[in-house]
Symmetry: C2
Subunit: 172 residues, 2 copies
């Protein structure tokens, strides 16, 4: 094709028109961004609560109590969120504990046994007086509901922190 | 502007180009539909389980046991989904029960008291031996986790169905 002055003008018109349509395409499709963000939102039903400030955890974890213990139910229920890398100290429950994993990924380990990988929908039954820890994966948050029944048998007994060395052994 | 043969050809080109770009616009933006559908999905974490076939419920309800009772925990945990209009019979728990509402809307009523409206995120503490019922709103599903502690005190005691007349009194 020979580019004459007339053809050159036509091509310029087409170029302008193309730019115009690409702008429309950009604006029209750009509202997908917030929807993608919404899909990644947490499915947690209960509030994240307050940052835990005691020394029984490594890293940042959050607690929202759902049921405080009393002599009628002998049970406490808390919603716990661990940021990536966060975990409890080693500890044990005289009356046992049940974890309902509601979001994210993490680990549960009983002393002397390999760690178990936890996912949304998992249920963990922690037998009375068994030393253990639970927490998030190194690169993922973990949210669980912790149900502590039989509290007439005694409260949680907190032990030593889970060291970085112990935590890094998880996947091995 | 006089429409010459040459101008007519130019307009036709522009029309073809416009159609082409509108087609791209349609295809590029059309993948929004399934994402919108995903946003409306239920946030339930645990399976719906099996349809309840006993006579202790009115309407259709579903149960997924998460923890079966044993002598170590003395606790059972079930995920219950009520279809719109479905509800338990009147009943009572010798050791009490705790409901964690995880999805939808419904009602909880103790005998002789007004019904309480339930929403996602609510926690209901049902005292031992108090006659009550729970279930979905007439036009909404309800999903809750039912935690029954202190089962060494005895299992649930089932009573009469919640009649349509009793159920229709809820909002009054």
């Amino acid at each position: 094709m020979t580019v004459t002055i007339d053809n050159f003008q036509k091509m310029k018109n087409i170029q302008l028109l193309s730019t115009f349509f690409l702008m429309i395409l950009f604006v029209a499709c750009n509202n997908k961004q917030p929807k993608l963000a919404m899909e990644n939102k947490s499915t947690s039903v209960f509030p994240k609560g307050n940052k835990i400030t005691n020394n029984n955890f490594t890293g940042t974890a959050w607690l929202q109590m759902l049921v405080n213990n009393d002599s009628t139910y002998d049970t406490s229920i808390g919603n716990v969120t661990f940021e990536p890398g966060a975990r409890t100290n080693w500890h044990k429950h005289p009356g046992g504990q049940i974890l309902l994993i509601t979001d994210g990924s993490g680990y549960y380990q009983e002393k002397g046994k390999p760690a178990q990988l936890l996912h949304k929908g998992d249920v963990v039954k922690i037998p009375p007086d068994v030393e253990h820890w639970h927490g998030a994966a190194p690169d993922k948050e973990l949210t669980h509901i912790a149900i502590s029944p039989n509290l007439q048998k005694g409260s949680v007994v907190w032990l030593k922190p889970v060291t970085d060395e112990e935590y890094s052994q998880m996947g091995k």
